[in-house]
């Protein structure tokens, strides 16, 4: 019976707050504005994604034609001429583009060298582009919390809200019920917004529909829900403990500025200062130094190549490279490619380890801001984060290595000594080597999103704790 009374009182408070929310014209407008902006950004992103996919197919076709237009060419020259591969857009990038703008859309694959991806969306800009565009993720991560601040800072402060609170307490509701009731009303409004965004995102990604896709979308929405509820709890607690509406507004706005503006900007800078990674020039110089001096740093390339030549002659039982049944240059290219690829792989592993260390610091900054937990989680599920990019790069490297070594093998097996310029049909040599990048499966993503999910839950629990404290304060002031 007591439980029934408690539940019905809670429902009463929630209904009352809900009605009051609906009557607030400014809030209705703000909510609709945020929803409209998110919808607009989603539609725009969906169209952009369709355009990007059709451009990718066109570029892939044009690139193949260019490669085949070489006709009979020196295979080693062709390896230097190189090929391009293009990164497909992840379907959920329409909801959260994550780092897409900074990752590069294409990768040049060539002999002796592993390149970073190029043609970032942020290249070639002007002052205006530095401000960044508008994405649904920006609306959901930054604007919705601001909407929560505007909507909920006055839940318990200000003349009207205080009078209402006292009347409700006088009618038998406990401050904790009032707190939960208001949270339920605001939470209901946020749930509607979340459902609307989820439905729009699902519609925008119809071609990608599958169980895993919808599950990833569901997890993303759940994460946003946790984030918003945490934010709401903190704003309500601040409202309950503040003496004036101005104090509640400033407290909530201050939290928003720290959580949504400052922490996301300062944490990466701090992480980079704590775990600096080499510039592109320093990276390339380190790789070249290792190529020239050997992995031990003391064996110059000439010495290693001379040893390789001796070993090869011994293996084939001949005295001069001209007597080999294979072309020695081709064999040397093959051997050199293996060595330089190993060196590149090692240096890239080190670089990505540095980036991972930076990511850990950024995640640790979620102690200050729940957004620092939400961002990596959302981008991971959308497959627009750095690990997803690396996954693509690793597959592209396997393709590069297979292509270059096929060209080297052709020289090794087919070029005759003293042949002068050697040419072969490079398109025919590489035709059987295909590149179809595979995105991460959902189960491969889950371990990576577990920690951020736990952190968001921790924020929600902390917010509930603060709400509890706020309710006690309300009780004291009543």
């Amino acid at each position: 019976m007591a439980a029934f009374t408690t539940t019905s009182q809670l429902g009463l408070v929630a209904r009352q707050q809900w009605t009051s929310l609906l009557r607030e014209r400014r809030l209705r407008l703000l909510g609709l504005l945020v929803l409209a902006l998110s919808a607009l950004a989603l539609v725009d992103a969906a169209q952009g994604s369709r355009r990007a996919e059709s451009a990718r197919l066109h570029d892939t076709h044009a690139e193949r034609e260019v490669w085949e237009a070489q006709g009979a060419a020196n295979p080693h020259g062709a390896a230097h001429f190189g090929r391009y591969v293009y990164k497909p857009d992840a379907p959920l990038a329409v909801l959260d583009p994550g780092l897409s703008g900074h990752l590069g859309r294409a990768l040049k694959l060539e002999g002796h060298q592993q390149n970073a991806s190029r043609f970032k969306a942020t290249d070639g800009g002007a002052a205006l582009t530095g401000f960044g565009g508008f994405s649904p993720a920006f609306a959901l991560q930054v604007l919705v919390p601001l909407l929560i601040v505007f909507a909920a800072f006055g839940a318990f402060v200000g003349e009207r809200a205080r009078q209402l609170t006292w009347q409700e307490i006088g009618a038998g509701a406990s401050p904790w019920q009032l707190m939960l009731g208001r949270a339920s009303a605001y939470g209901g409004a946020l749930l509607l917004l979340l459902l609307a965004v989820g439905a729009l995102a699902a519609l925008a990604t119809i071609p990608a529909w599958s169980g895993a896709h919808l599950a990833a979308l569901g997890l993303m929405l759940a994460a946003y829900g946790l984030y918003w509820l945490g934010f709401l709890g903190i704003v309500l607690a601040l409202s309950a403990v503040s003496r004036s509406s101005r104090g509640a507004l400033f407290g909530a706005l201050g939290f928003w500025i720290v959580a949504a503006v400052l922490a996301p900007m300062l944490a990466p800078a701090l992480a980079e200062a704590r775990h600096p990674t080499p510039s592109a020039t320093a990276f390339e110089a380190a790789v070249i130094e290792e190529v020239m001096k050997g992995p031990d740093g003391h064996t110059p390339r000439d010495v290693r190549f001379a040893a390789f030549e001796r070993a090869t002659l011994a293996r084939y039982g001949v005295r001069h490279i001209d007597a080999l049944p294979i072309n020695y240059s081709g064999l040397l290219f093959e051997h050199g490619e293996k060595i330089s690829s190993d060196i590149y792989n090692r240096h890239f592993d080190r670089l990505y380890d540095g980036h991972a260390a930076q990511a850990r610091i950024m995640l640790a900054a979620s102690a200050l801001s729940p957004l620092m937990a939400l961002r990596p989680l959302s981008a991971a599920l959308a497959q627009t984060d750095l690990p997803a990019h690396r996954h693509f790069m690793v597959q592209a490297e396997a393709y590069r290595y297979a292509t270059v070594q096929a060209l080297n093998r052709d020289i090794k097996l087919n070029r005759k000594p003293g042949n002068g310029e050697y040419a072969s049909d490079v398109a025919a040599i590489t035709r059987s080597i295909g590149f179809t990048p595979r995105p991460y499966a959902l189960h491969e993503l889950l371990p990576r999103v577990a920690a951020p999910f736990a952190l968001l839950l921790a924020w929600l629990l902390a917010a509930l704790g603060l709400m509890r404290l706020g309710a006690r304060r309300l009780e004291g002031s009543a």
Partner: protein
């Protein structure tokens, strides 16, 4: 009377403990951002130094090959160093004078070019376009002085002036104040002037101090930075004044100020960028690369077809004719590339013109643009570098062409006399000053428009009793 009000208002503001705290926070943010900016400049300079060291080392090795290693016996294998095509040169773009101000566009454009006479002109920047920075760091945006000024300085000014008059209205003392022998306009002007003294001048002074401590020496650049930042801070003060004439209480005024900040710093730039994307989308670099590579293939095919008729010369020249055929292929390719690249270049120029024009959309964009120009990290400078690096490539090609025509080999004397060097020529002063004045005008006119709106509002509301 005005002076008395200003003094009184300033005293009142100074009595509040929050003002020194705001200055301190701003100072800490500026110092942190300047330290960050200086670290970036140091990293960029060391990357450029490494590129130049690479150029010197390559030339040293080539010279050593000519002097000590090439013999008539091994010339067939190692003789490449003797040909002028072995010249390996670099063009670099040094950071600008006030580079500590902002990273700006420096990471979106190549910082160097590798010049080999026979490289296709569209590939000379390839080694210097892709960075290895953590994209999460890039996506967050650099925490530099421009960020502190463009994004956070408005919050400081608004925090100190959001209740410029709303406070009096909220407390009901506005009618009493206006019954004194001073016009509403003068009263508000005096209150705004006091805030200008305490919220505009100290941040400008802090910024200048930080820049000077960071090594900035150009008085002209420092003065221009001070003018731009002061105008920008005054713009936000004007916004606070207008909001105070509309809002009935301090909370409404705070909301209005924040909404203004959100609109001008976040939403309008995003909308302006959307408009630019719609009106002048960027060209597709992937499509361009394929088009240019196809032209290179065409040039190769044409040259091969033409070269098949040529018989070997006797006696053989110092420089093999294959290099002369390659020179012809490169020249033919350059013409084809120029034609094929023209529409992409035109599209990019059109986009940049739009992006440039859209800085009128918000004073925040205009200020960012001004600071990037002062830092030498603007798009115009980066493109100027690209044009000059391309010009340098053509100069080197012409030089190599002379060596080929004269059948002249490279010697150690050529290295000792010094190979061609790239020297960046900055834009004329008038051109740079014009762009900066335009930015200053955008901010000043936006502020003037707000003041005009405030004056009109004041004309309609004289009692402030509602």
């Amino acid at each position: 009377m005005m002076a008395a009000i200003i003094r009184m208002e300033a005293r009142r503001l100074l009595r509040g403990r929050w003002l020194p705290l705001l200055w301190l926070v701003f100072f800490i943010l500026c110092a942190g951002a300047a330290w960050n900016g200086a670290a970036w400049v140091e990293q960029r300079e060391s990357a450029l130094a490494a590129i130049q060291a690479d150029e010197r080392e390559t030339q040293r090795l080539r010279r050593a090959q000519i002097a000590d290693e090439i013999t008539p016996d091994n010339r067939m294998r190692y003789g490449g160093a003797l040909y002028a095509t072995a010249m390996s040169l670099r063009a670099t773009l040094a950071p600008g004078g006030l580079a500590v101000l902002t990273v700006g566009q420096a990471e979106g454009y190549p910082m160097a070019a590798t010049i080999h006479a026979f490289s296709a002109s569209n590939t000379i920047f390839d080694r210097h376009v892709a960075g290895m920075e953590n994209p999460s760091v890039l996506a967050a945006g650099r925490f530099d002085l421009a960020f502190v000024i463009v994004w956070l300085l408005p919050l400081l000014v608004l925090a100190g002036s959001f209740d410029l008059f709303a406070h009096e209205r909220e407390r009901g003392i506005a009618p009493w104040l206006l019954s004194q022998p001073v016009s509403p306009g003068r009263l508000l002007a005096a209150k705004a002037a006091a805030r200008a003294l305490l919220l505009v001048l100290p941040p400008v002074a802090i910024l200048l101090a930080v820049l000077v401590a960071g090594g900035a020496a150009s008085l002209a650049a420092l003065s221009m930075a001070a003018v731009l930042v002061a105008l920008y801070a005054l713009f936000w003060l004007a916004l606070a004044l207008l909001v105070n004439l509309v809002a009935g209480n301090a909370a409404q005024a705070a909301l209005g100020c924040l909404a203004g900040w959100l609109l001008l710093v976040v939403l309008l730039p995003a909308l302006a960028l959307g408009l630019a994307d719609l009106a002048a989308p960027p060209s597709s670099p992937t499509e361009r690369v394929n088009a240019l590579r196809a032209q290179a293939m065409q040039a190769r095919a044409e040259t091969r077809a033409a070269g098949q008729a040529t018989a070997p010369r006797a006696p053989a020249p110092n420089i093999p004719d294959s290099l002369r055929r390659r020179a012809l292929e490169v020249e033919r390719g350059e013409g084809l590339i120029r034609t094929a690249a023209a529409p992409y270049r035109a599209q990019d120029e059109r986009r940049l013109a739009w992006l440039d024009a859209l800085r009128v959309a918000s004073p925040a964009i205009a200020l960012q643009d001004g600071l990037e120009r002062l830092a030498g990290a603007d798009a115009a400078r980066a493109l100027r570098f690209q044009d000059q690096a391309h010009g340098f490539l053509l100069e080197v090609r012409a030089l190599v062409g002379r060596y080929l025509a004269e059948d002249r080999l490279l010697t150690t004397a050529d290295y000792d006399a010094g190979l061609p060097r790239f020297v960046m020529r900055e834009a004329p002063l008038g051109e740079r000053a014009g762009a900066l004045l335009f930015d200053a005008a955008v901010i000043a006119l936006s502020g003037a428009a707000l003041l005009l709106a405030a004056r009109r509002r004041l004309g309609r509301t004289t009692t402030f009793t509602e």
